[in-house]
């Protein structure tokens, strides 16, 4: 057990190292431009570029440059933006994290409930019109680009029908911290939650349905039926339990990647000041230190979250532990 956990942690460390090297190479070793000038952003003075070159060791070998960059990102955490002079990027990112977490956690709750509902109902009524229409809806949900759906949600709730009874409660775009005004926090996030959850309800519903239908062919399900258990009990207690394994693994991956940046577009369109929006603003004014830091922190979060899920999995499921 401990060996398995240790092994997983070593693997995690390796992947994190790999990602950090990859990001470093993408940003500073791609041919075509001076890395110091890249870091300095648009319209930087030659003196600034010269100073950056010296400070980040761009006149020294690549491994030294890598070490300096990692130190500035993770140990001293004093990487500063050159576009917004003197702004330390790491604290900035950590301050934006609660907004991203609020968005993703709420959406996650919605999509898990929605996915369970869609998957179980359509597996139970397989082949019926209800199953077919749920599956068509799920496919449509999967096929909509999230940024477009967010635009359309804004169009309906902020403009076209904002004055109707249905959406008059929707506050202006933006994010209110939970600690400041819980009601406003909730109201402001309902539409973003629904928008973000739509895609995942589709994916999870489809996967769960397929899994359940496969599980229902198993011998032990026939045994359960033969014992005279009710169909609901067979479906929920015997079928769903085994089908949930894939569901849990997927959830870990998706939750991690959303917190780690996949929610960027949703944040941008709903004006939520999370990590994704910071990255987006940095994209606009070529603030490379900010992009670098957010990419690095976000991907580390994803890798860490996946490792935690795997370890928890080994704790829950004895079969995984034995391997």
């Amino acid at each position: 057990m401990i060996a398995a956990v240790l092994q997983r942690l070593v693997q995690m460390a390796f992947v994190m190292f790999g990602i950090s090297v990859l990001v470093f190479l993408i940003f500073f070793a791609t041919p075509g431009a001076d890395p110091a000038a890249r870091l300095a952003g648009r319209n930087a003075s030659p003196e600034t570029v010269q100073q950056i070159r010296h400070e980040f060791g761009f006149d020294r070998p690549l491994p030294v440059q890598y070490a300096i960059m990692m130190k500035k990102l993770f140990i001293t955490q004093d990487l500063t933006s050159f576009v917004n002079r003197g702004e330390k990027v790491v604290p900035e990112i950590l301050a934006a994290a609660p907004a991203t977490l609020s968005l993703v956690a709420g959406a996650a709750l919605l999509w898990v409930l929605g996915g369970l509902f869609v998957g179980v109902i359509s597996a139970a009524t397989r082949g019926s019109w209800l199953d077919r229409s749920l599956m068509i809806l799920a496919l449509i949900g999967i096929s909509m680009p999230v940024f477009w759906l967010a635009s359309m949600a804004n169009l309906v709730t902020q403009s076209a029908y904002h004055d109707s009874w249905a959406f008059s409660w929707v506050p202006e775009l933006g994010y209110t911290p939970l600690t400041k005004n819980p009601l406003r926090w909730f109201q402001g996030l309902v539409i973003p939650w629904l928008t973000l959850a739509t895609l995942y309800v589709g994916i999870y519903g489809r996967v769960l349905r397929a899994n359940l239908i496969e599980t229902l062919q198993e011998d032990y399900i026939r045994t359960a039926r033969a014992k005279g258990l009710s169909e609901t009990r067979v479906l929920l207690r015997h079928g769903l339990r085994t089908s949930l394994a894939a569901f849990v693994t997927m959830f870990g991956l998706d939750f991690g990647s959303l917190v780690g940046g996949a929610a960027l577009l949703t944040e941008v369109l709903f004006g939520i000041n999370g990590v994704g929006r910071l990255t987006y603003i940095a994209l606009g004014n070529l603030d490379l230190p900010m992009i670098l830091a957010s990419v690095m922190y976000a991907s580390f979060f994803v890798v860490g979250a996946n490792a935690v899920v795997d370890i928890l999995y080994a704790v829950i499921d004895p079969r995984v532990r034995k391997e």
């Binding site: 790999g18 791609t30 496919l139 096929s143 680009p145 477009w148 403009s159 070529l286």
Partner: protein, 347 residues
Amino acid sequence: MVDTFSETLSEQAAADIAAEVISRPGRGPWATAFRRLRRDRAAMVALGVLVLILVACALAPLYAHLAGTDPFRPNLDGSITLNGQSVDVMQPSTTGLGLGVTPIGPTWTLHYLLGADSQGRDVAARLLYGGQTSLFIAGMATVICLVLATLVGVVAGFFGGWVDTVLSRILDVLWAFPIYLLAISLSIVLLNTTLHIGPIALTSDSLALPIAIVGVIYIPYVARPIRGQVLTLRHSEFVLAAVGLGIPAWRILWRDILPNVTTTLIVFVPILMALNIVTESALSFLAIGVQPPNASWGTIIGDGEALLYTRPMVALAPGLAIVLTVLALNVLGDGVRDALDPRTKIR
């Protein structure tokens, strides 16, 4: 049923049919799969929709010619004739202080069918040209992804050992890297440099950049299952026999391994197309994908963002085009998978 059927046939005809059935060779797996796919009504409808979209986008120059608009040049002072009256493409604002101009809305006639964007350009014409770009990028990226992923997966799975270890670890890293962050990092760096690959210089307005970025990021997604499959094939009896006969590795790869992963690759085509269209549109929406003067569905939605509350059609139309295309691809993808992989036939 059977009785009435045979009664309507003369004995001679029945004998002919029987002879034909016996003499006809068994249907191959491809023909069987193709037949299954043809019987799948949803998949056939989806295929029809895709063909329609392709044809419509291919006819973009025709529409632009008939409507007499140039989708790539601003038209701020132009006017068109509507119901016998001359109407400005950019109309004075009626809301707010009455300053500024609002582009014309959908006319539902040949000229400015879906209205104009903030530059006075015909949205319908841009939609069709944008579709060409979106579909082209998605298609090319799919090809790149499949070729590279097959190469990596087959080599890793077949040769094993340290080759497999190195390639698998690289795939692990790429896999763990959030896709949008990878795409954003690549785009932001590559867009601001001119990349020289041999004699080819990639400038930022070239479509090759979004193609390369979108093509690369999904490689682990395809390469991992391919590697797994090749790993099993490597130890199957017919491959071991070929190895024992001293047949060179490249020949085994080409004749024995590759044909066996083709089904998997085909199943991935519609799925990858769908993923690529959505990814490209997201990058273009963020202004780090397709660069002006080129347009794709994603950039048009981005243009429409500023006009969202006054002229929603600018963002609505390309979004619907994406949804329709991706939906059709997903339905077709389900059909192709069901047709090629009998295991998933459990319904």
